[in-house]
């Protein structure tokens, strides 16, 4: 049974890659992100805006990602993990049209951590030669690893990777505002939701202000050596604080001028879930359960 599942997964992977290549050749990936000011903007945010998966209902994406994440961790099954990685990667890269290089470079960060973590599980040391593979060090002890520990490490890496790819599917295709509005819909306290909205908008203003201050300091040799750099950085930080306070004041005035009465209300557009998306989601989840049942 396991071999059949393996073959099926390999076939699915091949089909996904083929679709990706075919799509990639047809339209040279060109997403424009508009103007990013001062050279400092958050990559993930920009990618989320450019994603073709953006017009999917945000709540649905959150649900799909969380369900995949939970199943991936709960089943603790190598086939389920691989299926989740493949499907989430497919959704983000091929359907969402995120460049594969971007995706890979984003994935490298968690992969490095996982591999480093998994090494400590795969490798052990002992005074006797045990395990299938061992290495005698300085005639003192053995570093060994066994098929079992290797498999364990592999399962762990794939499980974590599955979880990460599910969350990546969510964050790389959904702008933060939409995630916030999902939180609002599940009745997160209003205060937190509004704070998230304002903080999000403010991050960019602060980054922009910081870049401007830094550029102006740099243009006057403010970063010529370490001592001066520290000094400039301190000044910029304190200035940033004052500028932020001033901006907060200006903001408040602008809010009041448009009849602000203590609640931030915005128009949220409705992106209804399409029925084929629901069918797809259910099929995918059922598929995961089926894989788990067959390979248990």
């Amino acid at each position: 049974m396991n071999t059949i599942i393996t073959i099926l997964l390999i076939l699915a992977a091949a089909a996904m890659f083929a679709h990706g290549f075919w799509k990639g050749r047809k339209n040279k990936h060109h997403f424009h992100i508009g103007h990013s000011h001062g050279g400092s903007s958050l990559d993930i945010d920009a990618l989320a805006y450019a994603s073709k998966l953006r017009n999917w209902n945000a709540g649905f994406k959150v649900l799909l990602a969380t369900a995949s994440l939970i199943l991936c961790i709960a089943f603790n099954n190598i086939y389920v993990s691989v299926a989740v990685i493949l499907m989430m990667g497919y959704l983000t890269v091929v359907i969402g049209e995120l460049e594969f290089d971007h995706y890979l470079s984003m994935m490298t960060i968690p992969i490095v951590f996982m591999v480093v973590g998994a090494i400590t599980i795969a490798i052990g040391y002992s005074l006797k030669p045990v395990g299938q593979y061992n290495l005698h060090v300085f005639n003192l002890f053995y570093i060994y690893c066994s098929n079992k520990s290797l498999l364990q490490a592999g399962v762990l890496i794939l499980k974590a990777l599955g979880a990460v790819s599910a969350l990546y599917m969510m964050t790389l295709t959904t702008p933060l505002t939409e995630l916030v509005s999902v939180l609002r819909k599940i009745h997160m306290p209003k205060l937190i939701v509004e704070l998230m909205n304002m903080i999000y908008r403010y991050i960019f203003i602060m980054l922009e202000t910081y870049t401007k201050l830094k550029n102006s300091a740099e243009s006057r040799l403010g970063y010529c050596d370490f001592r001066t750099s520290c000094y400039s950085f301190g000044n910029i930080a304190s200035n940033l604080f004052i500028v932020s306070l001033k901006k907060a004041n200006a903001y408040y005035n602008a809010l009041e001028a448009r009849c602000y009465d203590g609640e931030l209300n915005f128009l949220e557009d409705e992106k209804p879930v399409k029925s084929w998306q629901i069918v797809f989601g259910i099929c995918f989840i059922l598929g995961l359960v089926a894989i788990w049942l067959f390979t248990r």
Partner: protein, 282 residues
Amino acid sequence: MKNTIEQPILQVKDIHFRYNDEKETLKGISLDIHEGEKIAVLGSNGAGKSTFFLNINGVLKSSSGQIIYRGKTIDKKSLNELRKNVGIVFQDADNQIIASTVEAEVSFGPMNLKLPREEVVKRVDKALRYMNIFDFKKRAPHYLSGGEKKRVSIADIIAMESEIIIFDEPTAALDPLNAAMLEEVLGKMSEEGRTMLISTHDVDFAYRWADRAVVFSNGQIIADDTPLNIFKQEDILEQASLKHPTMFDIYRIMEENGMVPADLGAYPRNIQEFQAMVGKGA
């Protein structure tokens, strides 16, 4: 230009204002604003223009004096009435834009007016189309250029359908192309008979656009007349550190050199009028 028969939309009577314990920023301002007027507000930095705007919008509360909107004196309860009907486009769009998509941003005002959803959608779409930024609907403001942000901040106010629209130094920090775009929008709006107040340092713009000019200096209004009459008064210009508009100077020079009859008094306000005057064989 003053229309004395009609009742003014907004009457400001002797308002005083100070920030905390500083000296008075507004020292007794009185102004009547009539329907359809195009008022240029001139004056140097720190003369009290922006403070005055925030006062007549109801954000800042004056320590004394009255603001009367359509015959109704504004008190604490009716402050929102003022905010609803007097809209401000702030100088720095970044200080005004709070939402994370253009659509949500423009909807903020109408949502606060507690309008039904369909009405909000209608107004937002209309405002976006008016400012020609409908395609940016779903974009995040931090991925827009300066000129585009400015348009969003104007759409904000258009969606509120305020009776009086105030622009606080709208052309500051805009490139020539965007400034021209802005003037086009202003032209379109004045054709529709909207009441507008614009503060500006650009005397050429004030001269060709406004039909009334108000000069602020040191917290007081020192002149309130047609732009032409104000630019003829040297003492006022000096007090408010204003210059003559270029067209005005050119006409003066032509007049002094006898190129136009001394009693013609045509005073062209823009290139088109100047061309027409020269073409007539003056």
